[in-house]
Amino acid sequence: MRTLLLIVISILLLPLVVRPAIASEIWIFAIFGLALNLLLGYTGMLSFGQSTFFGSAAYVAGWLLKHYGINVFAALGVGVGVGALSALLVGYLCVQRSGLYFIMLTFALNQLFYFIAYQWTSVTGGEDGMPGIPRPSVLGLSIQESYWYYAFISLLFLLSLWAMKRIVESPLGKILQAIRENEVRAEAVGYDVPRFKLLAFVIAGAFSGLAGVLYAMLFGIVPLEAIGFVVSGNVVFATLIGGSGSLYGPIIGSFVFIWLSESVSTMWARWPLLLGVAFVIVVLFLRGGVVEAWTRFWTWRSSKQTG
């Protein structure tokens, strides 16, 4: 409850601190992070190709928005559907593998999708991206104005967070964590592990797809990078920095990552150095990311007070 309040307050205050476009991007990226964390944090699968689903959804929904003028809800539905479907395809090929092979396979298939987007210029615009994506109104209310679109995204983010919370607290969430904890035993007690991994993959793909459509409508363009490995890497990065051990870690990660990349990059071109340092610190000392730093700080404080 307190966490929810904190999130709502952040949603309200954020546009006062940063431009609405960046504020919007933070919540979009947070949805994307929630998706990745279902795989990374909860199931123990490092997907290094999550932009496949983000990008595919952005392209397909973007194209339909541009050429057929579909409404907002259809666009979101298409995004979620394309995300899930592409994840089903990729996941089917990946979940039988584990460890490094799994990671490399998600990466390789990501590259495959990237080069399809790169080559298929008549649809995707190749390197120039796919511009001119409209932002249709929601039930007669225009969301052209950036603050209105921000409100729309915030609402969808809260909805996604609620849905993801339900999922991780459901039996499925427990089963996925059991797979993370001990795959052999999970199989032995009666779970078809590859099938559950695939299910996790499809759900994560659906959320990634939602993030992809929102991204396309935010900037009115799908750049080729949206389906590239840098975006795949960024979401892993952000999630790890925020903390993959908790539901809220990726949200914090998204905030840190987008805020740094948008604000600091204008002041200092070598800003990724900062991220690199942050990443090294997380890997060496703080496996639980910012969330762990926070809890450690509070236990340290309370132990000082009582002692």
Partner: protein, 249 residues
């Protein structure tokens, strides 16, 4: 009638034949032990029975149905549950969640799999608590598994198998690495389970075997060399040579 039966079960890893033509009959409701020196193929036999890998040849029949080659995830649903020689639990989970996961797997229907809260399955929770209570760990239900002692982990290991409400329990050295005191507790535990389940037990500690078993099969270099009641096994000269060896001869 035998509840679990193997016929000519063989498993080869390249040139090594770990299990060689094993024909076993496990009677319902009995405690059937499998003994043998290290490397005799006992654990490999368990891995075959629980579908970890398929046999090279031979068949496994459970309750009149041929289950040879059935994958591990399906075996649990048929009513065969195992514990591991090397503790195999879910470390970050509380003890209750450890057994909850096993209890849920074999409970049906899975309505609300994706959105119902995991605590909203009273029957599953009840079954999980019963399994913990059976091994005497109910008071630690909320403690994470990584914080309990080795002896308790061995009890948890057993509870996970029990939570599946199996018909046959396959216990792989439940007393592995336990102190004499803990071993006594474990033996009492196994004895209490006797009669409630059909139990197949692998064990090294010969005194345990002799005191709890209804029947004993002796494995040596992948093959069965003897089978009988504890008294028959103790008298069997071939067993004394192969297994009891230096101690009894």
């Amino acid at each position: 009638m035998a509840l679990l039966e193997t016929d000519g079960l063989t498993k080869s890893f390249g040139a090594l034949t770990a299990v060689n033509g094993v024909s076993l009959r496990i009677e319902a409701g009995k405690l059937h032990s499998i003994i043998g020196p290290n490397g005799a193929g006992k654990t490999t036999l368990f891995n075959l029975l629980t579908g970890t890998f398929p046999p090279t040849s031979g068949t496994i029949v459970f309750d009149g149905k041929d289950i040879t080659g059935t994958p591990a995830a399906r075996i649990a649903h048929l009513g065969l549950a195992r514990s591991y020689q090397r503790t195999t639990v879910f470390p970050a989970f509380s003890l209750l969640d450890n057994v909850w996961v096993a209890a849920f797997a074999t409970s049906r229907p899975w309505k609300g799999l994706l959105f119902k809260n995991a605590h909203e399955y009273p029957q599953v929770v009840e079954r999980a608590r019963a399994a913990l209570s059976d091994v005497g760990l109910l008071s630690k239900a909320e403690v994470p598994a990584k914080q309990i002692s080795h002896g308790e982990l061995r009890q948890l290991e057993l509870a996970i198998a029990l939570a599946a409400a199996p018909r046959v329990l396959l216990l792989d050295e439940p007393a592995a690495g336990l102190s004499p005191d803990e071993t006594r507790k474990m033996v009492a535990l196994v004895r209490a389970l006797k009669g409630r389940y059909t139990i197949v037990l692998i064990e090294h500690k010969i005194d345990i075997i002799m005191s709890v078993s209804d029947r004993i099969s002796v494995m040596h270099f992948g093959s069965l060399i003897a089978e009988g009641t504890p008294e028959e096994i103790q008298r069997n000269p071939e067993v004394r040579r192969a297994y009891l060896g230096g101690v009894a001869a």
